[in-house]
Amino acid sequence: MSSEEILLWIRKQFENTTELTQKTLDYDNKYALLFYVKSLIDQELLQKLIIKPFFEMANENQFKAYLIALPQFQKAESKEQAVLEVTNGHTLIVIQHDLYLIDLQLATNNQVSTTSVETTIHGSNIALSENLMTNINLIRSYYHQASLSIEYFTKGEVNQQKIAIIYDKEHVNKKALEIIKQKLQQLDQQVISASTELNNYLNDKRFSLFPQMLMTERPDRIVYNIAGGKIALILDGNAQSLIAPAVFFDFMTTMEDNYHTLFISLFVRILRYAGLFVSILLPGLYVGITSFAPEVFRTELALTVAGSRIGVPFSSFVEVLFMLFFMELLLEASIRLPKVVSATATTVGGLILGTAVTEAALASNIMVIIVSAVAISTFVIPVNELAFTIRIVRLILLLITSVFGLAGLTLGLYGLIMYLVYLDSFGEPYLRLFNYQKAKKSSEGQA
């Protein structure tokens, strides 16, 4: 294909847009053609790196050699790739028959942000930015190993989203890596806009309650997990990364656990697991005990509970459901509302509704305590995705209890554990206790 034809072809690709700028440089027997999208590139850099040297060079060959030597230079494998890269912020330079790609991308979203979802008191407060290259830069600067590998995929037929898979070649869980790559290759979505969306696409179970991948915005968490043999996926334009394979305990740890001293982190961990159990079991326990087996509590306590329920017209199940429903509404509202209003909403909802409900005898005092305890203990769960799941699990257990009583609640909990054990995350069992034998010679196999 002659250079004339290539030029024609490139022009044809951008026929319908006015975005593409075409510039001809012609001076002193030197001739070059520039293509770029004005809004994507850094024009100062273009002037400094390409246009000015062009006029200073003695001949075309010297200019060619200069272009290849530029750090921003990228080889163009095909004309299709050249066009794609132009939409990506590259400048295409055509000299005689050769295509040169120079990366002059102007990135405005490369500011490293501070953590907003997973905040910690100790430890770093840096979060991922929305720019892929900045993110990789962050991770590389935290993880100095030659074995750190990064592979790029472009997915999403329409928006051509760039996905980076980051892992440590030496430690990586090979089985999981294979599964992830295979699933990525099979992916045929039109648009992929967020990393969490990718999570859903990669998960082949349609009805899955528990998250299969860990979502995080903290580079230190990513580095920690990569060192442990896991795989991180980052999308361009997303400040959240995905980590797989994720197991249940990953969702119950914060990075801060490693930053505290032993006893403090142990205490915090115990607190967190207690919170998990409280938030799952407490509503069910209330229904089970008040409606099915009041004699379980010691007499004084049973009388207090029964006394506070005097005048409440509903069965305990409706009462709990009613209060939980309002709590969920409040939670949802405080997430969606603008920050200025959300404080008012919680005050009105939490304080005023809480007192009014007990005064109107629509719910007992103890119910209000239980609902707030449940709400608070849900916030203790460090990873947001699990907290969302727990809200649903709680309702399911509540429903089971109202049909089968306390024994139902207990068996429901055991069933839940069984379900978690049954789950897989990219070939890894989702829940199993200490796997210390992995390092030594394992004495049992999988079956």
């Binding site: 306390l406 024994a407 069984m418 054990v421 199993r432």
Partner: protein, 371 residues
């Protein structure tokens, strides 16, 4: 030995603290129960030893796989089916016992079908899991339940109402001729290792099982049997102990925790022991369903690519259990399990003879494979 092996042995022992074993033992308290226990503690570990050693010889292989290689088809299919039914009944006895317990002590006004359905629905889908997942479930639930159960036992041992004179008096009956029913009930406690017929596929590497491991099992079994038998006597006396239907529940109800939210230990005991009963049923029925898979080819049943074959035993399991839950009363269950245990003491020693044959023939198979 891998820690997972001990779970199999342990659960079969402690699950029966609450089931019909103590009732059977205490029923014969003045008729050879103590000597039967001593007898069982001697003979049981021998069986455990030979069972475990046999399966250690063939790491990662299940009994049906071994039989496939060494025996004829006319023997193989009926035998595996018989084993599957045996294991199903073992699970069902635990299920029915626990259903009766719950209706008596926790939710008396609930229909019995509904109570047994709770347990059935919680357990049944777990039986279809892979063997390694069954082990992981066991480990986690044990971790949740065992500390509290041990606390209850400690509370019982340190209680001031526990009269050691009664225990001593009961122990004096040791010089009688061992009672067969009591012996078979005790012997059942040791059959946990028999679950290896399927669970052995998990132990892919050669385990070492010798004197030390066996001593541990014997020690645990003596402790369990002592607790099962003598503690209820210590609380209730020797007179009329044979009439109690659930000796251990009655015992735990005489315990109080003064400063706790839940004063009566009974409820803690009941709800946490439910976990152990759950695991016991899970293990037995997992073995049973896996055995059935060797007899019937469930993979054949497909509907639009969805293999529903593995789900076929489930309605059958639920149906039969519900039928028996309604049919039996507590006395009949007591008789029924007693007969079941009696059959097992004949059956399991016979299996050792079978193992002997398998071992000899496997040598030939190995030789043939090498050539």
């Amino acid at each position: 030995m891998s820690r997972y092996y001990y779970y199999l042995v342990l659960i079969n022992m402690i699950a029966n603290v609450i089931a019909s074993v103590p009732a059977i033992l205490l029923h014969f308290h003045d008729d050879g129960a103590v000597s039967a226990m001593i007898f069982a503690v001697v003979l049981g570990p021998i069986l455990v030893f030979y069972f475990t050693r046999f399966f250690n010889h063939f790491p990662g292989m299940t009994l049906p796989e071994l039989l496939q290689k060494t025996t004829a088809k006319w023997f193989y299919n009926p035998f595996i089916l018989f084993l599957a039914i045996t294991w199903f009944i073992a699970g069902m006895i635990t299920l029915i016992t626990y259903t009766f317990l719950l209706i008596r002590y926790l939710t008396p006004e609930m229909p019995i079908i509904q109570i047994s359905l709770t347990i059935l629905l919680a357990v049944i889908f777990g039986c279809l899991m892979k063997t390694d997942r069954v082990f992981y479930t066991i480990e986690i639930i044990l971790l949740l339940t065992v500390p509290l159960t041990i606390l209850v036992f400690i509370k019982a041992y340190t209680n001031e109402n526990l009269r050691w004179e009664f225990v001593k008096e009961a122990a004096l009956y040791f010089n009688q001729f061992p009672n067969l029913n009591a012996f078979s009930a005790c012997f059942f406690l040791f059959l946990g290792s028999a679950n290896l017929i399927i669970f052995n596929r998990f132990f892919k590497n050669k385990q070492n099982f010798g004197f030390k491991q066996l001593t541990l099992i014997v020690a645990i079994s003596i402790m369990t049997l002592f607790t099962t038998y003598f503690i209820p006597i210590g609380f209730n006396g020797v007179e009329g102990i044979g009439e109690l239907v659930y000796p251990w529940i009655t015992t735990s109800d005489s315990l109080r925790m003064k400063f706790s939210l839940i004063e009566r230990v009974l409820f803690i005991f009941l709800l946490f022991y439910l976990g152990i009963a759950f695991l016991s049923i899970l293990i037995h029925w997992h073995v049973s369903i896996e055995l059935l898979k060797y007899v019937f080819n469930f993979e054949k049943f497909k509907f639009k690519g969805f293999k529903f074959g593995v789900f076929l035993p489930i309605p059958f399991y639920i149906g039969v259990s519900l039928y028996f839950v309604r049919l039996l009363d507590e006395y009949q269950l007591f008789r029924f399990s007693s007969i079941f245990y009696n059959i097992l003491i004949i059956f399991f020693p016979m299996m050792l003879i079978l193992f002997f044959f398998i071992k000899r023939r496997m040598k030939n198979v190995k030789k043939a494979e090498q050539n």
